[in-house]
Amino acid sequence: MKREEFLQELMEILELEDSKIDIKTNIKDLDEFDSLSLLSIIAFIDEKFGKVFTSDQLASITTVESLMELIGFEHFE
């Protein structure tokens, strides 16, 4: 997946309207982040990458980059 596309998809599933994000954005600091956001991220990773992570692994996510690292940088162009 292209990095740009990934950012775009993330903005959609996190329902970000005004706030722009880049790979250095801390996802959990966003006003829009709540317990449902995490479920959206799980569904997104399951659907697009076929991967499942434990709640501890998901709890360690900070920035968009750290999420990409968890999924595996090899999945991104």
Binding site: S35, L39, A43, V52, T54, L58
Partner: protein, 287 residues
Amino acid sequence: MNEDETALDLAFKASEKVFQYYDRKNIDFLLLCTQSPDYYMPTSACILQDKLELRTDIGALDFNLGCSGYIYGLALSKGLISSKIAKNILLITSETYSKHIYPKDRSNRTIFGDGAAATIIEKSKENGIFEFSLGTNGKGYKNLIVLNGGLKYRYDPNAEEIKDNSGNIRTNNNLYMNGPEIFNFTIEAVPKVVKDVLGKNRTTIDELDYIIFHQVNKYILEYLRKITKIPKEKFCINLLHTGNTVSSTIPIAIKDCLINNKIRKENKILILGFGIGYSWGATIIKI
């Protein structure tokens, strides 16, 4: 419901409603699914037998399951009837999770609702409950749990408040749910059990009239629908008035779908429950 009402009271009310249309003297077995008993012992089902003025020559028991409970209740009922132990079963699901949830736990408060449902399952010439697919994996038991209050960890009047990442507060005396882990379990288990129950019944989604999953929450249901490839018009989402009533979401949804003409007599529907335990199950019924 008011504060003092328990799952046993809700079970009583739901059953009395059913008995407006059904002679209680016929009931020869009572099954009550609850995780909110009035007492450790005796079992609520025995107390209900008396309160409901049912016959005394009947069987009655509680079983402790959550969101999969209705499916297991039907499986037990089918077993009791086909083995000729019973003919007319009263199956009740009743839950008051609100009593398990800490007042400051906003997240769980918005998800769960209290509720009860009563169903009569009768011996009939034509089969109306088909093959089951059931599953259990105790590995996930800690992800949806009330830790204290049983005999391993006693209720602790001084239990500390615990704050999670999203600012929800609870104590170990209360319901704890690890949402992400439960969701992981769900997206793994549900597609498999759908496939399995369709296979066991030699049918397909196309041949069925309607599909009712445990009404967990709208977001999760939408995702499950997508990955199990069920058309929107055949898939039930029925949360508006009740929230997640645990073991009662499926019978409440069946009733609501009948009222709204989404399903009618002779329809074949797939019902599927999953959750705490982990425990899951599905079957196909004819309305």
